[in-house]
Symmetry: C2
Subunit: 153 residues, 2 copies
Amino acid sequence: MLRISRLTDYATVILASLGGGTLVSAAEVAERTHIGVPTVSKLLKELQHAGLVRSVRGAHGGYQLARPAASINAADIIDAVEGPIALTECASGNSNCGIEATCQVGHGWQRISHAIRRALHDVSLEELVRRDAPFTTPDLQRSPNGWRPLVRG
Amino acid sequence: MLRISRLTDYATVILASLGGGTLVSAAEVAERTHIGVPTVSKLLKELQHAGLVRSVRGAHGGYQLARPAASINAADIIDAVEGPIALTECASGNSNCGIEATCQVGHGWQRISHAIRRALHDVSLEELVRRDAPFTTPDLQRSPNGWRPLVRG
DNA sequence: CGTAATAGTACTAAAATTGTACTGTATAAT
DNA sequence: ATTATACAGTACAATTTTAGTACTATTACG
């Protein structure tokens, strides 16, 4: 129904692997997460740019979380990797949508986007990693219209 | 930060143009919405399949909403056009993610997905079209991290 | 000075999205 | 019946986005 890019998913995994707080090299992050080294490097660079991780260059350098996992949320991660792109094209500034003049629903998506953003903001990296999820409701395992929830495997 | 496909956006516009309740041909919908006829036809077919619109074939045929705009919600529309695809690849069933074994965050996205789905479910087509949005908060027009909300143009 | 690590940039390959064309089928008016 | 209109289904082509790679530069430690 809605998607985040795979790289964003990877970014979350990478951040989770940095939860210990110690300095870790990109190569070791790759080993821990089983994601390729080039991809890990690329993502860590972006996360550093966004201020979510701190980097130390030179020999024995590496990366570490810039702030505690509890104060990094899902919206931060998505913003860092996918940029401040909103639900619809017309929201991104360089709109060449073509039907703007007659469109009736553009403003409606704004409300939805707001609600989604709040949901993303309310889940921290710490909670994201914690295995005992607070509100995993079993009756949602398969909804009436066939939508499947997010369980790896 | 997160995106719906342009076709989903179009679908919403098309459904909005059908709010009158009368039978409207695909060609006229195209004219009203300024979306190309082939695209409109394709989308109306999918919406019919999903049960959101009713179709009448033959001369003087056309499309109309299958139920009142108040009882169609954003999640319905997204499901109809994008299918029951969830936030991450591992959720879609045919997972070949490669890092499943060591991944720590897959289940976390489930909670987020749940929250997002609820947000989408809570906005009806009727509300989506209504111009006087209930909770348009002006202080969100530009958030601290540069994200821009959804206003066409 | 050499090694180990990040920083930056540019490029290539693959996949999904988007839009189009064509053929078939049903209905109403003449 | 025939014809015109409009939906149904399928397949395809172009574009765009995403994902991953390679290479060079810079920084720091020993």
